[in-house]
Amino acid sequence: MASLQHPFQCLQYAKSNSHGLPNLLIAAAGRHLYSYDATSGQRLDVWPQDVESTVEPVSGTVPATEGDAPPEKRRKLSPASGGQQEQKPAGKKPLTGTTIPLLVTSPDGKYVIATTGDGKTIRVFELNHDGKLKELSSRMMPKRPSALALTPDGHTILCGDKFGDVYSLPLIPGEYVRKIVEQPVIPSATSLTVHTKGNLRTLEMQRLHAEKQAQTAKQETAALKFENHNIIGHVSVLSDLISVSVSGRSYILTGDRDEHIRVSRGIPQAHVIEQFCLGHTSLVSKLCVPSWAPHLLVSGDTNGNLFVWDWRNAEIHQNISLEDTLQSEAMVRGIWDVSLEQSGASGPVNVILVSLEGSSQLLCYTIEGNALRAQDSIQFSGNILGLIGIDSRGTVVVSVDTVRDAGSTDNWKSSSGALLESFQIIFGPGGLKCVQTEDTMVANINSVGTSDFPAGLDEKQQKEFNDSLYNLGNMKKKHYEE
């Protein structure tokens, strides 16, 4: 069987601000982070380092990785053997625990922020002039981040988690002296607040236990060992998070599983809630404030709704039901604002591109007035995972799922398709036209490829990979009768 390669689940463009330095494409596939020259497509670096040599799967024991890289799970490969089971005893971490689900680049193109390890660790890398990834820091969050962003000034990481909390962390961690507030454990109930015999007995046990604890060594508190502030909290799963600056004011927009979009002020006033943009009917899966129209917010949910908002006033400009248009179930997965230089045109072409969970169709919109206007959609060879606009070339690059059939989140192919595809947008008399193009960079990246999936995955293991890449369906609320 031909080998299957990890698709790029995340794609970012690091546009260099200084002359003479290359623009970079940063991508994550499986548990690896890659950096490419965005012109030639030459691979410049891969993290973690120890796999640089591998096109064939690594076997044997795990060599010590550089720095304090986590003990990433490496699978011993014994092809065509029934060894899968014994290697995966009950209670062991799942195969997919080591992907890089979230990836962000800084506005100046100098830093890359990714969640790695079991998805709980935030790592910051500096991009050297030769495109090398230099790891600066790694910080383990209390809960696995579900959304990651940088403030508009690029100095602060914002990170939201499944428990609805948003933390701010300095991009470059400074000296941090942890303050531990010693709090003796005192049961909060008293004989005045509980009355049943059982509760009173429990209370007495708690008191004895607390006394014992106080005598033994001081407990290690769960406090994090680096500077962080919990600045926003939803009592829900935080599904997306963006930070924008408009008219000199900065804002943080957060979406959750309970249909809410919350507009808060930026740091240090994130506790001031300016608005709730309410109207979605299910999990708010994606938020996008177009760089060229920052007064608008385009948001999508897992019921296939797209909304266009005057988000500072919580007013709805437009509501599009993609399930109605497409006549099928639809969950919005990605919304991108892309601005492309056009040779000969008076200004850049601005488009909003929308992808759906487990779909190979890219929906294309322009903004006219305060509303989206649908243009022809574009079909790709696989489900759309990531997208970047390379403005200087007028090209949009899309990463597609190489492994699953187009339109499916669980049907595995027998051999991989292309990792990246590209197209150009041409503004013609009949409206926008999208033309799929050949691009040297794309061709070079595709020819080198990423790392292979372990061979002979069983159904359960495949499902783990499916669920790690396509999790909207699982996150969406189930409606059940009481």
């Binding site: 909290g233 009592v235 309970d258 249909e259 240090p268 506790h271 001031v272 809630i273 309410l278 009481e482």
Partner: protein, 318 residues
Amino acid sequence: MTTPSLNKRQKREEYRRKLGEQTANDGEVKMPQKKFFRQRAHANVFSDHNLEYPRTPNHMDWSSLYPAFIDQDPTHTNLSGARKLLKDVEVIDIGCGFGETLILGLEIRTSVSDYVRSRIRALRLRQEQLKGTSQAPTTQQEETQAQTERLPDAPAPEDEVGTTDALVPGNYENISGIRANTMKFLPNFFRRGQLSKIFICFPDPHFKARKHKARIISESLNAEYAYLLRPGGMLYSITDVEEYHHWILRHFLVQEGEDVSAGSVKHLFERVEGEELENDPCVTVMSCETEESKKVTRNKGNKYVAVFRRKENPEWPA
């Protein structure tokens, strides 16, 4: 063993159905009995339950909750097509329990909120009957004063709140209750700055430390309360758990040595103390008149009150 519980449940349902059908013409209006509204003490605030909540505040149908306040112009409707009220709800009681007499009680436990609604319905019917027998004029507009002007002679069987044998101002038309998970959905019911008072009376203490994140007071929830309260609006809290009282103070007031460089919701509130607190009739009602407070009194428990005023938002950073 399943049969008796099934019977019990059937009985309970039958009872509630009959209660719901009574009208003012049926002779003596029966007050609901709590034994038919049994409910576990806690509800999981993180689960999805089967909650009903409006998509936005403009979709909320208030007309069925406050029929006496419906705007007479039938063309005045909100986004869900429901008739509008003459005025907005602006006082809420979060976790109202078995029947505080405040303006809108929000309660997550189904049976408890059913009980509150049944009792309000019965109280309203009783008032209707009483109106028929006496000529006493009633006012329907004195919303916030209702609970403070309640007739003092009301005996309180079973700690019940609400007079059943005399006319009261407002005729209980100004109070209502709904089932809601306020930790998740308050902004679906109320607009920014719509509320003037929020009551949090004897909240579930969630004694275990790992359950503390389920507490109704936290810095992130306080930010939401600040969003709903207009500047000058008040948040009232009372608890019989001393540790929880300190928790509340800790989550509303900047602590000594606390790092607030990244900003803090505590800047949006100030504590109300001294004379102002003593003269606030709401504090008296909260500490002595509510059902839970009577229970605490009976058990000779302590009561800890903390009241906070919503300050103006800070200026945007330059």
